[in-house]
Symmetry: C2
Subunit: 294 residues, 2 copies
Amino acid sequence: MIGVDWGTSNLRAYRLAEDGRVLARREAPRGILTIEPGGFPDALRAVVGDWIAAGETRVLLSGMVGSRQGWQEAPYIPCPAGFDTLVARLIRMPFEDAEALLVPGLTCRDRQGVPEVLRGEETEMLGAAAALGGGEATVCLPGSHSKWARLSGGRVEGFATYMTGEAFSALSGHTILARTLDPRAPHHAGAFARGLARARQGGGLLHHLFGLRAAALFDELGEEEAGSFLSGLLIGHEVAAALEAGVAPPVILVGSSLLTERYARALDAFGVPSREAPPDAAARGLALIGAALR
Amino acid sequence: MIGVDWGTSNLRAYRLAEDGRVLARREAPRGILTIEPGGFPDALRAVVGDWIAAGETRVLLSGMVGSRQGWQEAPYIPCPAGFDTLVARLIRMPFEDAEALLVPGLTCRDRQGVPEVLRGEETEMLGAAAALGGGEATVCLPGSHSKWARLSGGRVEGFATYMTGEAFSALSGHTILARTLDPRAPHHAGAFARGLARARQGGGLLHHLFGLRAAALFDELGEEEAGSFLSGLLIGHEVAAALEAGVAPPVILVGSSLLTERYARALDAFGVPSREAPPDAAARGLALIGAALR
């Protein structure tokens, strides 16, 4: 079968064997925001048409493709939810070339009743947890909107989102901090660690942000360090809040090593062990959903 | 004499009587970022030249005009600092038409040794506190970079900055939240109060930011409410952090009533009394510095 993780900015397609192995993979900058209304079938055909021509009869889709801005809006499924829940709620999409099924996203409420949503991460986190043996787990998917989920017995019990990556972009690019940092500077491990340490001190994030500017004015933080300091500061605030909400270690980190390594270091600074999930968590999740369909 | 509060985006000029009364006032959109290098004397002349021609011989300047991007960079004076300190450290500016003296900004270190800076607010907070009788006071100047200062015996003992206003602009304009809020919507008191209440719950600011998006997706927060909710959320986080750092009530609020009314409501939600400073705090501060020169 074919698995497609179709997000906001990118599309990742996998050709999957019956046992779940990835036979081939493709990535295209054809995120849903680049697709005109009505253009989704053609966009999918352009990326995986030859695999269908070669005999594939089923396409499983996950991610923001199921959002209001995507191919078709899929209602969020309430937690707790496992693979069985997702399989029962797959949505058949209007696609002529093959059977196309959409995996719905999840919703829950935090302790104060505020809603939470995700799309795509349900497939990744269940795939990652299955690869690591399941049971009780905390899964973290860092990114623009970082997700922290509690899993138990192969089900997502609940999750929380932190707008860390997007806050980094907005604050580093559209405030006085833009004059303080060099956005092309490579990662600076020492400055990242300083940002992490700062996040663990009192005063609050809004105060810590200005401190970055003031430290730069006093030549106590260089342009080549400031971006990494801000990254450590924001990730530190995220991890502190997530740990306060309660976490069953070890934390399973899912994503590109560029980010997961930073989160592993942040968790380590808080004394919490973590482990990196095997790669292709989305492909694993999609393969397991496909296997349950057979 | 003439007092000029010369900030990043605006210039406010006051013609002051010997007893400190404001005889005339002018405001021009000639903030320091609009002035070409070398253009400061002409810009000043354009705004107050006729007052000088009418006999004024002294101009006192405060604000970002003393920054690296301003007319001339003035070193920051360490706290504690009162009017006497500022008077002793005035800087004579190269201006032919009258005696032009620049009030330097202040610096201090927070408990963790991170530097703090301000320019212009020293004059406003000392002016506001003097108008209210001095003694022990906490002064808050809300804005892009909100300042909270502890004053004792007419001296600024120390202060902390929160990047609240700038964070609001960056987050409301340059993240997914931009799709959630109508920037032209008028202030919505109920949504502001909900944002304040949210700030007092656990989970951290980065989580609360995403909750705003998710609530909008579930039609639990309207476009016309979301901006006020975000304002309440950020101001609530600022006030919570400032109170945690320690505050001697009542808090004296200095600034435009648009902002000070919101901060008064936020402080009230935390059970902390506040009072609004009389208007023209900068003019009062400049007049008191001028009086000490005679």
